[in-house]
Symmetry: C7
Subunit: 94 residues, 7 copies
């Protein structure tokens, strides 16, 4: 099975537990705390004019931070995934 | 009978029951759960500037995911169909 | 009498009764059900950048689907007509 | 006295009574019924990019249809006139 | 003292009493009645793309019509003036 | 200490008392009365397309008028300053 | 650990206490008082058309002012950080 996100969207498998990635922690106390996930598939660029294409900014397997209410939920092989629009992706963890 | 969607719209026949497409499941528990359907007709691009044309991203017969409240309902030969705007199409299932 | 719609508008004579056009039916049960009508006059393109001009997408006499609350009503020779903006035209029935 | 409308505006003298122009009637029953008027002066184009200039679409003396709440009212020689923005002009009656 | 309006703004001295300019009258009964004033200074164009520059449309001393709630009020030599944005200027009286 | 405003912003030291600059007075009675201040630093242009760059319109030391609720307040050497976006600057007093 | 902000965002470590940077003070009394922080990482430009790229306006280690409710909070090595969008960055302190 293969899912190809459309128009500036990225398929992400969220990491639910409070993860430590090196020294990075997303605190539970933050009201609008961002979430972290692993990039599973990257869509084609749609609104891109001057910036970098999505595939230059991240690749499958990268960890990304995204806004708490971002994305639409689906299940793949029993695991929760999110289809997230580029504007809700905040940063790549390297 | 032939229906030609206009301006970045796609005609989709939704799949109502909870479908398993390979390992993909859209969970009932998700509040804003996306829906799945089969592409029946593809409109002409209207707002396209830098992205790919609709017809490069999908073809008739492809399965697509779309937002729950997307589209306008019509019936063709007794079967429910939706005319959906591109911005509400989330991903192509391949 | 001749009515020339302005700026991406189309003059449409709606078909009131539940029409069967081949196998197409617009169900009464759909909350935001689209309506069908016959194109009577086509305006000049105004916002067009990359898409097709209105006159390449439809011609006078074509049947079109449009959103339920689209258009402004006038009467021509006693028959109800609507002046509809392009963005509310959903599909051409062929 | 001469009034030069600015930036995509048109000066229109509305026709108040229910006019028959050939076979065209604007019904009183329509909630958002458009109104009809005579073009008295045409402004310079401001937002025009791909469409036709105002002066190619209409000329002084033409009858036009416009939205019910369109325009700002002034009086010229005791007669009510409206300064109407292009986006509220629906069609030219020919 | 000299006031240079910025970015598509015009300095206007409003004419308070109900003025007759030739045969033009702004009726008191109009709810959103436009007002009239004399152009005192003209700003530099900012958003202009296809239209005419402000200084081609009007010159200092011209009478202009503008929307009732347009502009920000200041006093110059004891006289009320308004700094008005171009989008609220309706017409030049010639 | 040096403060470089970003993206079409200007650093302004407001003049609190009712100043007379030549014959210019901002009346207390005006509800949305503009305020006056002295330009202290000018940011780089960001959205500029056709207009004049900020640094051609004003220079450090100029007096400017701006909307009453414009800007974000900071203190420099004990004196109130505002960081104001270009769209809220109304005029340069010369 | 390395965090690469996306699309016009900047990673900032806020300075919580009322800092004096030379003579600059952000007063507690201001309702919408801006905050100060140290730039830790700079994203790639996304919407940039005519302005300066983020990396020409600031560099890692610079102090910046930003709006009070700007940014999304994360913790790095136990220290609060914010991922802030360019539009909420007000000025660079030099």
């Amino acid at each position: 099975m293969n899912l190809q996100p459309l128009d500036d969207r990225v398929l992400v498998e969220p990491i639910d537990e409070e993860e430590k990635v090196g020294s990075l922690v997303i605190p539970d106390t933050a009201k609008e705390k961002p979430m972290m996930g692993i990039v599973k598939a990257i869509g084609y660029d749609f609104k891109l004019k001057q910036g970098k294409p999505l595939k230059e900014l991240m690749k499958v397997g990268d960890k990304v931070l995204f806004g708490k209410y971002a994305g639409q939920e689906i299940k793949i092989s029993g695991k929760k995934h999110l289809i997230i629009e580029r504007e809700h992706l905040l940063a790549v963890v390297k």
